[in-house]
């Protein structure tokens, strides 16, 4: 049975989206492109195996490399989310600083 690349890409894209909502608009294109690539790679491993170009051990090694790449992309998306939170906290602190200084009438902080 051959793999449905579009269905696979859609599943992976949803997994990426679930991992990050706050930064989603900025990473959407990246996640979409990577999902498509991963789905195509999986389909290619299947084709190579089913046509006898690689054996089971080789297919497993290719799949492990593919898994590592997927995890790397997920880690980046997670990291971008943490940076977004960090940015939001610093922005809030900036507002607080301005409010305190304004209330005091001079730049205390």
């Amino acid at each position: 049975m051959s793999l449905d690349v579009n269905a696979l890409a859609a599943t992976m894209f949803e997994a990426f989206r679930g991992k990050l909502t706050q930064k989603w608009p900025e990473v959407k294109d990246y996640a979409e492109a990577e999902s498509k690539k991963f789905a195509e790679s999986l389909a290619m491993i299947e084709t190579l195996k089913s046509t006898g170009q690689i054996n089971e051990e080789q297919a497993r090694l290719h799949f492990d490399i593919q898994k590592n790449a997927t995890r790397a992309v997920l880690l980046t998306i997670e990291g971008l989310g943490i940076l977004a939170v960090e940015q939001a906290i610093n922005a809030a602190i900036g507002v607080l600083r301005d409010t305190v200084n304004q209330a005091l009438g001079f730049a205390l902080l």
Binding site: M44, Q58, H62, Q66, T76, G79
Partner: protein, 154 residues
């Protein structure tokens, strides 16, 4: 007052102190950081390793079907790649709040080991190289994309 109440009261008192310190530090102008700063050396070392891997793929593609494609003829590449990834790993490990990059590097290290295992089994075909290139590109892009994001708009 029970011992547990005393304990929680002590913890709460300490927490308030830490929150206050954090707030004072933050308001004093020190930005909050959960992730390490951008590291130019990591960026350069990863980019350099990506070039080595791509050069290897291009060479291997040109040798597909020829006797030169054998693993024995490419041992130098694997040795260089192992040294490079270990150097990157040591540096990433030495930087605080750098856990994500460290995980990235360890995943890449594992992929390089598996690439070598694949090559030991047989020469890499053009189709296999296309697959490997796509996955290695994703790994390198993920690492560099995150490293560059650490610049935080600087």
């Amino acid at each position: 007052m029970k011992n547990t109440d005393l304990f929680f009261s002590h913890v709460w008192s300490l927490s308030r102190t830490y929150i206050l310190i954090l707030l004072v530090v933050a308001l004093a102008g020190c930005p909050v950081r959960f992730i390490s700063n951008y590291d130019e050396k990591t960026d350069e070392a990863v980019t350099d390793l990506q070039k080595k891997v791509e050069t290897f793929f291009v060479t291997a593609e040109g040798q597909a079907g020829l006797s030169e494609c054998k693993y024995e003829n490419h041992k130098a590449f694997y040795q260089e790649a192992k040294v490079a990834i270990s150097t990157i790993e040591v540096r990433a490990n030495a930087i605080s709040m750098n856990d994500i990059t460290l995980q990235h590097v360890r995943l890449l290290k594992d992929s390089l080991r598996k690439l070598e295992d694949l090559h030991k089994i047989s020469c890499l075909s053009v189709a296999q190289i296309a697959l490997l290139r796509s996955n290695f590109d994703s790994s390198f892009t993920a690492i560099l994309k995150f490293e560059l994001a650490k610049k935080r708009g600087e």
